[in-house]
Symmetry: C2
Subunit: 140 residues, 2 copies
């Protein structure tokens, strides 16, 4: 039996799911339910998602910047929880509430604590620097 | 010799330094230099501070909301790094760039990765949900 650490699983999850948008891989990573404990600005904040619900969130979330790339800055792990500091960049090709697509290259940073049930990801607590995105999209 | 974990040290640091503003305690917690690796919106972002420099930052930062309280939501620790998810609330009694004091009760959330040298705190990587503060202060 191979012993993949939760940090390795999470790095693959961020690449496969959030950077590459591989909807067909979601079921490989997720627990039966996925709880978004805290994620201000995410339309699914506070919700408990099934795998199918998560797939919908993935597709809708990635529409804003389909070429998005998440880069891991640092990860630490303890007791079934992985904290990750990340940066993100992409091209604003999809409308977001109040701001139609601009075509601008944008970037953002954030940190997330992911919770695991065994080797499956069961939810997160996240804060992203939304203000910087707002500033990049609204300044000329 | 007592064995205080870095998580306990950090919880005390957040209470003594950031919630209670005890400038005289800074030297008890800090390494010789403190590096703000990433903290968008913080005027000291990217800087390496001495203990005295950190004290100046503390005093100036707390002036915005002198009654501020940080609450720890979750902490994990690995390899001399402690990640903490936190919430914050306070009263906007000090001017910030572009927004004079409003007297409003405001709240915010964020996550931080603190780095230790032994049992001393040597820097951080942080993202706070600045957009929510901006919205609370500018909406009627």
């Amino acid at each position: 039996m191979t012993n993949t650490s939760n940090k390795e699983i999470l790095a693959n999850f961020l690449k496969d799911i959030w950077t590459d948008g591989r909807v067909e891989c979601v079921s490989k990573y997720l627990a039966d339910t996925y709880t978004i404990k805290h994620d201000p600005g995410d339309p699914w904040d506070g919700k408990v998602l099934t795998v199918e619900g998560f797939k919908e969130r993935l597709v809708q979330s990635r529409a804003m910047a389909p070429d998005q790339v998440f880069t891991v800055v640092k990860m630490i792990e303890e007791h079934g929880c992985v904290a990750v500091a990340w940066t993100w960049h992409g091209t604003h090709l999809g409308d977001i509430p109040g701001i139609p697509a601009t075509g601008k290259k944008i970037k953002m940073s954030g940190l997330t604590m992911y919770e695991f049930e065994g080797s499956r990801i069961s939810g997160h607590w996240q804060v992203a620097d939304r203000l910087s995105v707002f500033q990049q999209l609204t300044q000329l």
